[in-house]
């Protein structure tokens, strides 16, 4: 489709929907309603929204929707660390029911017992999976969960009178950028543990970094390399010995369900992305949920309220002694909780473990195949990958001049996609694949075939890769415009102003 911007569809006099009329008796009683506003608060001219009939609005958005390669359409294994697994359709029916969609968060608890029960049960399941003692579903994403962890860390040390002193937050370069960014928002100084030559965080280095200033150590395991750090307990011991807390980023938990837990590895808290590991669809980027779990000691620090059960009815517990307050309105994103609850019930304990095992099997299969592609490699220790791998096209670039961005754009021509890596690029020319448990062997093979084909092209006819995409509805964007304040246009009205013919 070559669809205009929606403002260009405007035809004065058209409208997409009518507003329910006000009953005459109401008008009789109160008049026009708006006269009560002082003149300064009365809108002077109508907003310059487009006027479009209903069918054309639908046609516009339906068309551009087809220009979105959702995971229902492609073999979405290229969103490394972001686990685009199957979101069962039955769960979408649940959340779209009025029994979920038309609930108000301040209804009397007696009228939302079903919702509370599912929330509480999911809490219990996550406790089983992690070993933690209590979960909050308030954070609205992984980033907000990281922020919540940092908030708890701060509050914890403040409660112990060490708030000022413990201002160092230790993490790694493979962590999500939000790890460092959210801790920085909470006023921490960010300290990085370097990776050793095998890709593990360096334990000896950590020992040198901890001190009475250490607030916390936060890490994923496996990190986005997919390499499991088997000495993790030693890391958490070191941090605890120094008086710091240990935060587990479980964005990469998909290979670990039922296999190993946060508790035994010595973590004080952890979080799961329900929108990744627990199958809530990503929805172009949220709404989502980062469920945060803590040990009993830290439970009073959670954002409130928390759902509890007295054996008869479910209710909100609001008296959390050291609560950090709140991080998201009301209770977070309940539809995500409902979907995750349903997903766990559809799998059971055995199924969850099967998820982990097959996610790892798929990844190792993919890893095996990709290493056979000319120009591709997987830096760091050989083998020993769990559920994802960060690969490199460094060799390809050296041999052919084709970069990971070129391959990425060319993949689009085969209706595939991959993501490179977070910044900074510790692995050069990176691409990160995480196949999850959701794709069949045949689909993995298809994906590998596309990469193999592109590698061949790069060696034989690099131009075709460098000038991609060729099959997209859109062509290469002049990106410099987007970084120039005089040219960037963040809204249509800005575009009209900046491109006006003088």
């Amino acid at each position: 489709w070559d669809e205009p911007v929606i403002f260009e569809l405007s035809q004065p006099g058209e409208r997409g929907v009518e507003v329910p009329p006000v009953e005459p008796q109401i008008v009789e009683t109160v008049g026009d309603g708006i006269s009560s506003l002082p003149d300064s608060l009365l809108r002077k001219k109508r907003p310059n929204l487009p006027e479009i009939s209903q069918y054309r609005v639908i046609r516009h958005y339906s068309r551009i929707s087809q220009e979105v390669l959702g995971s229902d359409f492609n073999v979405e294994i290229g969103q490394g660390t972001c686990t685009m697994k199957y979101s069962p359709k039955i769960n979408e029916r649940f959340v779209r029911s009025p029994k979920m969609a038309e609930l108000h968060p301040l209804q009397d608890e007696s009228t939302v017992q079903g919702m509370l029960e599912m929330t509480y049960q999911l809490d219990l399941y996550l406790r089983e999976i992690s070993g933690m003692d209590k979960f909050s579903f308030q954070p609205g994403s992984g980033t907000q969960a990281l922020f919540t962890q940092a908030s708890i860390v701060r509050k914890y040390h403040e409660a112990r009178g060490e708030g000022e002193q413990r201002n160092e937050f230790i993490t790694t370069h493979f962590s999500h950028p939000s790890q460092a960014a959210t801790a920085a928002v909470k006023g921490f100084k960010i300290i990085y543990v370097p990776a050793d030559e095998n890709g593990y965080p360096d334990l000896e280095a950590l020992k040198g970094l901890v001190s009475e200033r250490t607030a916390a150590f936060a890490v994923a395991n496996p990190e986005d390399t997919g390499i499991y750090n088997s000495r993790i307990k030693e890391f958490t011991d070191v941090v605890h010995a120094a008086g710091g807390l240990c935060c587990y980023d479980q964005a990469n938990a998909n290979g670990l369900l039922g296999i190993t837990r946060a508790l035994e590895a010595g973590f004080d808290m952890c979080f799961f992305n329900l929108h990744k590991t627990f199958s809530v669809p990503h929805a172009c980027g949220g709404p989502a949920t980062g469920a945060i779990g803590v040990t009993a000691e830290l439970a009073p620090f959670l954002p409130g309220p928390i759902v509890d059960f007295d054996g008869e009815r479910y209710f909100y517990k609001r008296d959390l002694k050291n609560s950090i307050g709140k991080v998201r309105s009301f209770y977070g994103v309940p539809p995500a909780v409902l979907r995750s609850y349903a997903w766990v019930r559809a799998l059971g304990a055995d199924g969850l473990r099967e998820v982990a095992e097959i996610a790892c099997l798929n990844n190792n299969y993919l890893y095996h195949k990709i290493l056979q592609i000319r120009g591709a490699s997987a830096p760091y220790i050989q083998g020993r990958r769990l559920e994802q791998v960060r690969y490199s096209w460094q060799q390809l670039k050296e041999d052919t001049g084709v970069t990971t961005y070129d391959v990425q754009r060319r993949m689009i021509d085969f209706a595939h996609h991959y993501w490179t890596s977070h910044h900074p690029y510790v692995v050069p020319e990176p691409f990160t694949l995480e196949p999850t448990e959701s794709y069949s062997m045949a689909e993995l093979d298809e994906y590998v075939a596309a990469l193999t084909h592109i590698s061949q092209e790069a060696y034989e006819n690099p131009e075709i890769v460098k000038t991609a995409p060729h099959n997209s509805t859109g062509h290469r964007v002049l990106e410099s415009v987007l970084d120039d304040p005089d040219q960037w246009c963040i809204t249509w009205r800005a575009y009209l102003k900046k491109t006006a013919q003088g």
């Binding site: 551009i64 929707s65 390669l69 769990l386």
Partner: protein, 461 residues
């Protein structure tokens, strides 16, 4: 693993023969080989205590049974608002946001996900018209987050550390702002006038200082009445070198002036009223808007999608504006943080605004004001019941039951028994107001609904 002959429907390669084939291909004897790096003492020994799997039909029955324990705002008459509001959701909104393409997409590039970029660019553009400003971000988690970030933006721009925040905001929002802006910034509350619910200008003046980074107030306020002194507050803030941040209910902007036109430098608010179901609070979604001033633009932590030319003459392309601001690019050196927030609700709000158009937004705003005024008037006509504030309001208003001798709690319990969800009880957070409740009336309420409420309360008292 348990022995089974067939794969779980969600896990294709759990089919035994496929599993075997893949293991053979990679040279492993069993899946245990993959987990060899996990030390025995870290391996979970017992089976998790999670109920066994349900088939899809069993799941459907089970979940529906649980959901049927919920009583919805559609099955009852609800006057609950306070940050999450019942509004008419055109079917078009649900049609578009349930398209699998949008629902299951995530983080593609502008080529294979051109439609996602375009839909979010259009959302930004549509909200921009509503607030009459040139820059709007990709949605944040919710209004509270939008306000928190707006305040941090202001602090970075002014290089100051004190935030003055109207007391007349949602108590939860204050908790969120406080946590988000601590430890480096301080939040000071500004009183409101007891008569009108408006910001107490004297208190504001007293608290403004050279440390004031920003003044934050809302319009309409949390307690419903409109803030009539917006321009004055902005002027005072500006005079003190501070930035004026205003929170707004976007559905009011068809009839109410945009804060941009009475001095706001940053406008924020919640998109939920614009075509998103309440979802028990899961429908909240925040936005931030500013003028197209690089000083402000470069302080956004969020992604900002822009329109740009492509290689093909006349073709539109889309992409990230000033990506290097973000924590994606710069980690802790970027502006706060960015990640998954509430993109689908942004797209939905765009669909809503495109569907409603300028006339729809005016009519819905006016209709809300008429209905809420009618409701307030009818309620006030009940002996002992009165409207708390003598000020204009938009869709919410405070009703004072103090003179009835009954508590809001008792009244609400009695209403619930009649299938009515009464207004939000304010006694916990605003004990100084007495037995007050915050009622919300919108275009979803018919006259009959309101009359039913009035009759019910009359019969209860």
């Amino acid at each position: 693993m348990s022995v089974q002959r067939y794969a779980h429907p969600y896990i294709p390669n759990s089919a035994p023969e496929v599993k075997e084939k893949m293991l053979t291909e990679i040279g492993f004897s069993s899946i245990e080989d993959i987990y060899a790096d996990i030390p025995g003492e870290l391996r979970l020994q017992e089976k998790m205590n999670i109920p066994k799997a349900l088939t899809e039909y069993e799941l459907e029955r089970h979940v529906n049974q649980l959901m049927n324990k919920n009583q919805t705002t559609k099955e009852n008459i609800s006057f609950l608002g306070a940050g999450c509001w019942p509004h008419f959701v055109p079917a078009v909104c649900d049609e578009i946001n349930s398209r699998a393409e949008f629902l299951t997409a995530y983080a593609g590039e502008p080529y294979e996900d051109k439609g996602r970029f375009q839909a979010l660019f259009e959302y930004q553009s549509l909200v921009a018209e509503l607030v009459d400003m040139d820059v709007v971000n990709v949605p944040t988690f919710d209004w509270a987050q939008a306000a928190s970030t707006a305040l941090r933006m202001a602090a970075r721009i002014t290089k100051r550390t004190e935030l003055l925040v109207s007391k007349n905001i949602h108590p939860d929002k204050l908790l969120i702002i406080k946590n988000y802006t601590s430890p480096d910034l301080t939040v000071t509350s500004i009183d409101f006038e007891n008569e009108t619910g408006s910001l107490d200008l004297n208190d504001l003046k007293a608290k403004l200082s050279v440390d004031t980074a920003a003044v934050y107030f809302e319009n309409p306020t949390f307690l419903g009445s409109v803030e009539v002194n917006g321009q004055m507050i902005a002027d005072l803030a500006h005079a003190a070198g501070a930035i004026c941040v205003v929170g707004v209910d976007p559905i009011s902007l068809g009839v109410m002036e945009s804060p941009a036109n009475y001095g706001a430098d940053i406008v924020c608010g919640d998109l939920q009223p614009l075509g998103v179901h309440m979802h028990y609070g899961g429908g909240q979604s925040g936005f931030i808007a500013t003028h197209d001033d690089p000083t402000y633009v470069m302080e956004y932590p969020s992604r900002l999608f822009g329109i740009a030319p492509t290689e093909v003459e006349g073709e539109y392309g889309f992409g990230d504006v000033a990506y290097d601001r973000t924590s994606f690019a710069k980690r802790e050196k970027g502006k706060e943080s960015v990640g998954t927030q509430t993109a689908l609700w942004g797209i939905t709000a765009g669909v809503y605004l495109a569907t409603m158009g300028p006339v729809g937004m005016e009519e819905v705003g006016q209709g809300i004001m008429q209905r809420s005024q009618y409701a307030a008037k009818q309620l006030s006509s009940i002996p002992g019941v009165e409207a708390k504030f003598a000020a204009p309001f938009f869709k919410e208003f405070v009703i004072d039951f103090s003179q009835t001798g009954k508590t809001v709690k008792d009244i609400n319990a009695a209403l619930l028994a009649k299938g009515i969800f009464g207004g939000v009880d304010l006694t916990e957070h605003y004990p100084e107001l007495g037995q007050c409740a915050l009622y919300c009336v919108t275009e979803v309420h018919t006259q009959e609904d309101i009359d039913t409420l009035v009759a019910a309360i009359t019969s209860i008292l």
